[in-house]
């Protein structure tokens, strides 16, 4: 599974968006189901999936799918 697929899978599992969703449009507080509770589940899924521990500022700053991808780049995750 590629890094992108892994990240998408985390969003599908934590937020409940369909696998065929337009991930680039997903945003905290705007996408249905992405509330604060789902956000912590998402963080958990991402941390477990990529075997990392995010800084608190990154947890708070992960406001969209695009931002999540950007943040993961700081932890050495490469998106082809």
């Amino acid at each position: 599974m590629s890094s992108l697929e892994k990240l998408q899978a985390a969003f599908v599992s934590a937020i409940g968006v369909p696998a065929a969703a337009n991930f680039e449009e997903l945003a905290y507080g705007q996408t249905s189901g992405w509330d604060s509770v789902a956000h912590m589940t998402l963080v958990n899924e991402i941390e477990t999936g990529f075997d990392i521990m995010l800084d608190t500022n990154d947890v708070i700053g992960m406001s969209s799918f695009i931002k999540a991808r950007e943040i993961l780049g700081k932890y050495g995750v490469v998106f082809a």
């Binding site: 912590m40 963080v43 958990n44 941390e47 477990t48 521990m53 800084d55 608190t56 947890v59």
Partner: protein, 258 residues
Amino acid sequence: MISKGSILEGSILEGKICFVTGSTRGIGWAVAREFARQGATVILNSRQPGGTLEERRLQLEQEFFRPAHGLAADAIDGAAIQGCYKKIFKQFKRLDVLVNNAGILQDALLGMISEATIRCVIDTNLVGSLIHLQEASRLMARAKSGSIVNVSSIIGRFGNEGQSVYAASKAGVIGMTLSAAKELAPKNIRVNAVAPGFIDTDMTRQLPEDKRQQRLAGIRMNRIGTPEEVAQVIVFLASDMASYVTGQVLGVDGGMIV
């Protein structure tokens, strides 16, 4: 009292990774020893690396014949606290127990408290504890399991003259415990607090003799408590023996009246 010696058979914390803040003396040190005696892998903490932290780490290893660890972080340094959890994650991949114990005591009558003192006590006793709680709960959430024990105080429950700031910080710890217990229960993370009364530690030995006698007079059991007596209650709350206990504040005070 905790006897010197090896790990007990059927130790109730066997295999658990336990982080105890402020654990080179007083209640924190007693907790670390009792945890090690009960089979836990203990991570000690103090403000400074090396020195006492390293001495205590070696002491635990020699006494209980198992590896012990030390992580330095000042309770007022959020980045250092976060760094501890990164190290715990890197080395163990999980955390089973946090004992939020680090704290300071600075008494003064209301008109004599400087803003700097207020901020220092609140930052150390409450803000630091909150950051530990935040970081630990994230690690525990991955395993959907964990126990956090916050060390409050009888003063946080009932108040005392000359201790408004300390009381505010320790009452805050209780509020934090009750809220976190509700939030984290669905993730199978238990959060409880102990509220020690008058315990024989370096902190309480700072008290003037008249204050000390005054406090002793208010204890129904007619004696000061020991750090080990608090530690044993914390062991219970940390262990699976308390698997259905969360959101509780347990007094360990010998029937003290404030």
